[in-house]
Subunit: 333 residues, 4 copies
């Protein structure tokens, strides 16, 4: 059960409610987000929901069966739209495009990418400055220096930035330069990081774990929401299976299921989802056709020279081709 | 290496070629299909391919590296189109639709389905009469009696039939009533069945194994082809993963990969691929967008009363809706 | 519910029972095996079990909840012991060893293997004459000729034979020369083959499917049992996972679970389970320690020259070493 | 290539070596651990290894092909033994037992467990105070307060403590009370945490990721080692597969493979590996038989009342039984 408090609830009304819940022997967790205040209740026994409705200062009371509470579509019928500022939205009826290199490499690279995005009317640029790499001997990103460079080039062009954060300690420093914090697949159940991201007021994109279930992804989102941040985006990026013909197995079943179970926007990363450059466009089209709210696409002026992930990165020309096809697709759905 | 013989090769030319290969110490497998005669060679050492080119009666010599030979796109650049008769094609630029119930139940059911297909211009009906069931206590199909009923209703309406065959011994009896033989996921590596299907002149649709790799699916097709039947269709139907939120995990990565590696048409079964009725339409659209050559869709007048698989079966009305959306999609690709 | 009939039930008693069940509206499947006659009932509603007990000619009535009936440990508390003849047992308290080459290659090879087995007191030899191979271009076994050779060498030395059968049509021909029919992982859900094996009176060893669940393995056994053959052995042989460091992932969890759920003996194939020769001994010891009723081990005089599976085959010397260690292990458990 | 420096290498010798490597155009990473100083070199081209041997102050030069360097068995032939202090060793020829509850709950619980351990001669107690939980609404451990309580009861009894750390920021505070830091399966690729643990001088036990490959586990160990901490233990705890009959699929293949590839000790957690109390003893025996260097076992006075993981926790009596059986097993291997 979720009790949504009125924005103007008075202190004594809130105390009354808390006492009432205690008397009814109902455990509750207060959740305060950018959007509102909620009490999440996990009553052990069935009881008459009207007993709660009597209290003053309550905006609404929702029954939510199932394990997930705040992220569930059972209480919030309207789909959540994430406002990244300056009119950049994720989850409205447009397909939000987030494109750019796997790793930020240089100012020139950023400027080239920005140009490609502007040409296609894309408002969000992706690019990693902290790179989680399986091997400690691989290139691991330019760090804060790279992020500042990234920010400067994008900010003056009205482009929003999505980039990965790897631990709680990085959040504060990154904060001024980031528009959307991305949690990578390897950190999908790094609960401390999730809770720390719950305490800030910036959108967070959660990638599904490498072999994460739908259920686990929703629980990870619940961690962030419960800690106070409602601005959440879920991302399917391919799962690990027995098949070795591609890097990951893009699981597009996840899109309609996540949209059924949750009110949060769902985006897809087809670049990681198949990991093979020449097939990314087709997988991106399928992702759009299945109802994704946005796409994360790796692009680079010269993919074969990219510091990381070149094998799955589109050239700018290929990206233009994708955008054209997506435009046609959007016209019919 | 594949040596394609001329249709009018003379007996002495063929003997010369065989002797020549023996002298060059090249092992070869003769393959005779409906379309032509081939020698598949697996030479142990590199040698000058022109030494083969000298022989008379040869139409072409193709180098084919990699494990798969006859099904590989390396020797046959044109994509294979399967002719099911009466102008019903699979693998041309149209999306071949195969729809109908999981199990054939009654004459009335078949007639209802035929009507739904005709209304939508669909030319192939699916329906099982031999049902592979995990439990021996489940309904296992109407058998030959059902197939004959199925055939009568379809034949007079110009509808082609695709149905599953479960063992070699059934082929002969089923032969007059079947237009496309389907090999189910559980029999994907039933090599005896595959070879027996190689000896007939009817199209065969191979479903990917429950946890079958891309490589294994191509090898299974190679079994049929090598035994003499080129009329092959590959089918992605979802794989088994750790995820339990859906029946199977539809692997749309498989479509572009199979089309890259093989010249055979590739179709998708989104009904089994997700296993949840309300999401089948979206998965079907994604399958079309990713480039599938056809779709297998489970439909029923009253899905909730279907003998099997009702939970993933579209009603006729939902099927109409799907066909409308697919029509729009086809216009742009 | 399983109704076990008395061996000497009279025809009129049986008719009474059948009529009684019909009147009670209880669907039932009669199962006649080498050991007895059973009615498997799947009543739709709860009813008073004593109503059945009244009938004459009944030996016992067992409530069996859950999906599996005849193979379930819920009705048969004593563990099943498979008698392969001449005192060769599987499922008693000894570890039944089945060793030999992947493929039968020659008379010399068989004789060498028999010698190695006799030396170690092993009574069952494994060896394939029909080999299911992913590629149609691989060696596929010596067929019936090889089997006859296999039989002659073993029979005169009191060694029992286990070998794989690939389709129903082979059973009759193979019958005189085989002591245990093996169903391979790729045929684990070849239901026609399973039913055909249910109609013979020889033990059947069922390998778990390549990605077969515990539940599916038990259902496959149920197919055989329901068709009339109780002489069943279950075999864990490794499953397909994401891990590519070994051929398969040996799942020893399966052993205690299968022994809990079923009364059938459970054996393990560590050779396929890890697929790496130098680690087979350790995996075999683990299999024995976890409670397996027997082991299938690939052995060869010169593994590096074996026609198939040499990379996972023990030399005779390594097999001697394994037998010594197993002997010690048996002393303490 | 790994260059092992002499403990008493002089500053100018080291400078000479560094210059020499630069001149040879060989990139190198200096690694300073508790045990020694190493230069890890990743030369792009083959070169004469003797050119390195000329330099003074070098103890040894090892060629290490393959991706993993410091954790590889290719340069360190002796197996690593972890000294936890007071003669408590992991990786010598004894089976190191680590037992105790999933979660620390109370002083009484700790004392009860200590008593059970002492009785069985077990020197390491496990117990979580920071619990990574899928759901934010689950019990998440007693935190530092619990850890201090845990330490007091164990320290006075000569029992060492292993407990999970969830993020870098916790390390400093936990440091005085922990003997072995455990990295959980969900943090197996939390590279920031791994590097932070590389900077301390306490043993670290790394659990394999929920669907982590052997390769990834070794790379994660490489992260810790490269950051300066050689005291590493690898732990197999079951992987995620399609099988739902148990919580995880214990992958005992991992034990011989990890011991082949790495010089680090390998322990097994059969409690999580199967997740079913009544089968834990058998899986523990299999783990010992396969060659594990130690076992992590969940125990509790009253498993059915445990705050977490009760379904897979042994009672003290069951633990006694396991210890007896393990003792017998150790006598023969």
């Amino acid at each position: 059960m979720i009790i949504q408090l009125k924005k103007d609830i008075q202190q004594n009304q809130r105390l009354d409610l808390e006492q009432g819940l205690n008397q009814l022997n109902i455990e509750f967790y207060p959740v305060i987000t950018q959007m509102g205040t909620y009490f999440i209740c996990t009553p052990i026994q069935e009881f008459d929901i009207r007993k709660i409705g009597y209290f003053k200062g309550i905006s609404d009371v929702h029954r939510v069966t199932g394990n997930h509470k705040m992220v569930s579509s059972k209480w919030k019928l309207d789909r959540t739209i994430i406002d990244c500022g300056d009119g950049v939205l994720i989850g409205d009826n447009n397909l939000a495009m987030m494109a750019g290199p796997c790793s930020i490499e240089s100012e020139e690279q950023i400027n080239d990418t920005v140009e490609s995005l502007l040409k296609n009317g894309v408002r969000i640029m992706r690019g990693g400055v902290y790179k989680p790499r399986t091997s400690p001997y691989s290139f691991r990103g330019l760090g804060m220096e790279g992020l500042k460079m990234f920010y400067q080039a994008c900010n003056k062009n009205g482009i929003k930035i999505i980039t990965e954060v790897m631990e709680s300690a990085q959040i504060e420093e990154m904060m001024p330069y980031v528009d959307i914090f991305q949690v990578g697949a390897r950190n999908a159940q790094n609960f401390n990081l999730l809770e720390a991201l719950g305490e800030i007021d910036k959108p967070v994109l959660l990638k599904r774990g490498i072999s994460g279930t739908i259920d686990e992804l929703l629980y990870s989102a619940e961690y962030v929401f419960k800690s106070g941040n409602e601005k959440l985006i879920l991302c399917e990026r391919g799962i690990r299976t027995f098949e070795s013909a591609y890097r990951n197995t893009l699981d597009l079943n996840a899109v309609p299921i996540l949209k059924e179970k949750s009110h949060l926007p769902v985006v897809v990363d087809p670049s990681h989802g198949i990991g093979i450059r020449k097939h990314v466009i087709q997988m991106a089209l399928a992702s759009a056709a299945v109802g994704a709210d946005g796409l994360l696409i790796e692009t680079h002026k010269t993919p074969e020279k990219a510091a990381t992930d070149g094998q799955q990165t589109l050239s700018f020309k290929e990206f233009d081709e994708l955008m054209l096809k997506l435009k046609k697709l959007k016209e019919i759905f």
